[in-house]
Symmetry: C2
């Protein structure tokens, strides 16, 4: 663990998983691999989550991007199709992080014309 | 691209996202980082998906694991809590891959006592 980097904090397994299908986004935004990685790492920060690792893959010049930010709280992913103006983003956070703040930052940056957002509760059964 | 590795194939953005909350799993299985990475890469193969990259993080001896397999078709992730016997797995695949075959392999290996599985359709609006 490098100096100055806090050890990950253990979180309870219950959490929220936000599935956001984002439409009508400019192709340029959806093919910019470096900008998408910066955006999703910023979205983790905005939500109060701790980034462990990130990896983003560009399928080629002007093509889509697939990427993940692994968190102490679970993950954020994005998969983009510039040719369709479409991105599928996932924000899965356990503990006390606020996935809605991550989604707000992503929407502010990508400016989708429309969004279909579904939130699922994750975790062991509640008795 | 190394010799012998096929270039990723472009897939249509519509797909299925399987959210599987798996309970009653032995702590030993849920803290074995290397075995979980091998399992999820095998699950991608079983589904007919193409692995681009994987990264798995162990939180510490006997503790949970968080990991991702990025696919040409989207991703598989897992987050585990050995202390609760719980794992949250996601299998998100676009194109013609078969996420149900990936889930079957994961369940066969982890042997959960119970599972709550929710499948969401992802993609642009269908007109």
């Amino acid at each position: 663990m490098p100096a100055g980097v806090a050890a990950p904090v253990a979180h309870a397994p219950s959490g929220q998983h936000v599935l956001a299908d984002l439409n009508g986004i400019s192709a340029e935004k959806l093919s910019n691999c470096a900008a998408l990685e910066t955006l999703l790492r910023g979205a983790a920060d905005a939500a109060g989550a701790q980034v462990l690792f990130s990896h983003f893959h560009a399928f080629g010049e002007g093509q889509g991007v697939t990427g993940v930010v692994l968190l102490a709280e679970s993950h954020i992913t994005i998969h983009t199709w510039p040719e369709c103006g479409f991105a599928a983003a996932d924000i899965f956070m356990c503990g006390n992080s606020q996935p809605e703040l991550a989604l707000a930052l992503i929407k502010k940056a990508l400016q989708p014309g429309s969004a279909h957002v579904h939130t699922a509760r994750r975790g062991p059964p509640v008795f």
